[in-house]
């Protein structure tokens, strides 16, 4: 079998099956408006989490500003698709949103990615806040705090294409030389430089690509949920996305996907407990982290490829998150 045929069979068939099953369930009315909205949210969260995982989990750059990219994508899509009706406006909006987010990511990333750890986190957090404040103040374009009403342009077909497409593209990136450079940066920046990895370039590239898909996620959000306003994209949204990434496992794409689904299900289950739902959610978060600090998947991947071994081991996250003390402890044995 030529590799391309094999890939289509092993990966394409299960995906196509997934697509058709959901389509069938929608047709049969089993997936109703409520479940469709839940599905939409899952898809948006997958795109957001996977793109943040690229930045934080794989490249080791701690970002607290993903909601900023989301906001750019959401507003660009909203404004363009409101101005130009039909698929042209909506797809153009999504693309413009992604590109704009990538551009901002590039411009912000270039100077700030020199920062390490928490300093980078705070710089990205600041960036997202600035983006939000700009949207509040660009009254004539964004309608300020009052927010924008958006036409619903997404359906299951689009969600499927965009979500699966994003995941595949990011996965391909990670398993290429550019992606391995990014992982090398995460593992040990000094060592990476010493073997010829242009670490600045690797970081900025991951950040820009992550920003693009963050923007795309925002655009998908805006195109389904009717209404956006700046305070949806605050600091807490960035945290929400980070929670998905860490819960799934830093450095595991399938972990991010599983966590996005799991959190949506948890949220559904908790909806009945109006009064204490957030208490239960917070408790659950703490308990999960205590018992599985490496996240649900660690850095392992679950493969769709039914013929390959399940759970092929992928690189784990180390340097970026290990306590600074640990990396400075000299000596040959890594004692912890």
């Amino acid at each position: 079998m030529p590799p391309i045929v094999r890939t289509l069979l092993t990966r394409g068939v299960p995906l196509l099956a997934l697509y058709l099953v959901v389509l069938g369930l929608i047709g049969a009315g089993i997936i109703d408006a409520y479940w469709m909205a839940t599905l939409a949210l899952i898809c948006v969260n997958i795109v957001l989490a996977v793109s943040l995982n690229l930045i934080t989990g794989f490249t080791g750059q701690f970002s607290l500003g993903h909601a900023g990219f989301m906001a750019i994508g959401a507003y660009a899509t909203a404004i363009i698709s409101n101005a130009v009706a039909g698929p042209a406006g909506f797809l153009g909006g999504l693309l413009a949103g992604g590109v704009l987010a990538a551009l901002v990511g590039f411009l912000i990333g270039l100077p700030t990615l020199r920062l390490r750890g928490d300093y980078l986190a705070i710089a990205t957090l600041g960036m997202a806040e600035i983006i939000r404040v700009v949207f509040v103040n660009l009254d004539s374009v964004t309608n300020g705090a009052a927010g924008l009403t958006v036409t619903q342009n997404m359906d299951w077909n689009w969600f499927f294409v965009l979500t699966v497409g994003s995941v595949i593209l990011i996965r391909n990136y990670l398993r290429s030389r550019q992606g391995r450079d990014a992982i090398a940066v995460r593992e040990d920046e000094i060592a990476a430089e010493s073997i010829g990895v242009d670490t600045t370039r690797a970081k900025v590239m991951s950040f820009t690509i992550g920003a693009f898909f963050g923007g795309l996620g925002g655009g998908m959000y805006a195109s389904y949920f009717y209404f956006i306003k700046p305070d949806l994209f605050g600091f807490l949204k960035s945290i929400d996305i980070l929670v998905i990434v860490v819960l799934g496992g830093l450095g595991s794409l399938s972990g991010s996907i599983i966590a996005a689904i799991l959190l949506a299900l948890i949220s559904t289950l908790l909806q009945g407990f109006t009064e204490i739902r957030m208490i239960l959610y917070a408790l659950l978060l703490v308990v999960i982290m205590i018992f599985r600090p490496e996240g649900l998947m660690g850095s392992r991947e679950l493969s769709l490829n039914v013929f390959s071994r399940l759970g092929r081991r992928r690189p784990a996250l180390a340097t970026a998150q290990a306590a600074p003390g640990a990396s400075e402890a000299q000596g040959k044995g890594d004692e912890r």
Partner: protein, 294 residues
């Protein structure tokens, strides 16, 4: 001129509040490199304990302050033992997420029990409400108290961390816990002590803010917590004088931006300055950018 002087006073008072919270933040960070997102919420709990103690138990301001500090101290240690200690050997982001979980937990448990509505602190003794007018500039006793307390606490903390035995132990633990054990340092107790101290400070800040603004609510910790974190980073995270300077800087900048440009832009300008400062001083204003020796 008067207006500028007034704005500076305003900025320093606001900055003191950020500094008060940032001190505890930065100390905990300095020792275990944890961005303790729950710190802002411990501060909130402190504000409520102060409120309950004054409004319900009828205690005086200083008794209430003490009570809030002790309660928060216990709360801080419990949080550390239950939620953070099991993650001693995990990645820092894992602990960060746990801290966010704890933060949400405190907020929503509080929301559940006391409701979302704001509460106002009971009336205070007169000396708190005094005001002085110097020319056209109004200075309130509360401002002076809060500025004074923040400076005093900074000095006290700096002394503890730099000069005392336990302070040295704290720094040793922060750099290499195993090696610290080999020196005979009880690492768990040292970390608990750090939390106790940091949380007591948060409790004090909560009561002082309650007194200063006279309003508290279960979500009051989020924004100041974030700003305090920014202040700590700004000054050089882990550095106690940095927290104070960062707090003042942010307070004054915010005030001047809203006073002379537009209050709409205050957060954006603060963050923009922060990013610029970090680009030129990647370890904050006071931080030294030590490169790892290879």
């Amino acid at each position: 001129m008067d207006q500028l002087a007034q704005q500076l006073i305003n900025g320093l008072s606001l900055g003191s509040i950020y500094a008060l919270i940032a001190l505890g933040y930065t100390m905990v960070y300095g020792i275990i490199q944890l961005i303790n997102f729950a710190h802002g919420d411990v501060y909130m709990v402190g504000a409520y304990v102060g409120f309950a103690s004054m409004a319900i138990l009828g205690l005086g301001v200083f008794e209430s302050l003490a009570l809030a500090m002790v309660t928060c101290m216990i709360l801080g240690v419990v949080i550390e033992r239950v939620a953070y200690k099991p993650l001693r050997n995990s990645t820092r982001i894992a602990v960060l997420i746990t801290a966010i979980g704890v933060s949400l937990l405190l907020e929503y448990v509080m929301l559940y029990f006391v409701g979302a509505a704001v509460r106002s602190y009971p009336p205070l003794p007169d000396y708190f409400n005094a005001q002085f007018a110097v020319g056209g500039v109004v200075i309130s006793a509360k401002s002076l108290i809060i500025i004074g307390v923040s400076v005093a606490l900074m000095i006290g903390l700096q002394f503890i961390v730099q000069k005392t035995r336990i302070g040295k132990a704290m720094r040793a633990v922060s750099q290499d816990a195993d090696a610290a054990r080999l020196m005979g340092i009880n690492v768990d107790n040292t970390i608990s002590f750090t939390f106790a101290l940091g949380s007591a400070l948060a409790g004090a800040a909560g009561v002082l803010v309650g007194i200063y603004y006279n309003t508290i609510n279960p979500l009051m910790g989020i924004m100041p917590g974030l700003k305090a974190f920014v202040a700590a980073v700004f000054g050089g995270i882990g550095l106690i004088p940095g927290a104070l300077i960062g707090g003042y800087f942010i307070g004054v900048t915010e005030t001047l931006v809203s006073g002379y440009f537009s209050s709409l832009l205050q957060d954006a300008v603060v963050f923009a300055i922060l990013i610029l400062v970090l680009i030129f001083k990647p370890a904050g204003l006071l931080g030294k950018n030590v490169r790892e020796k290879v």
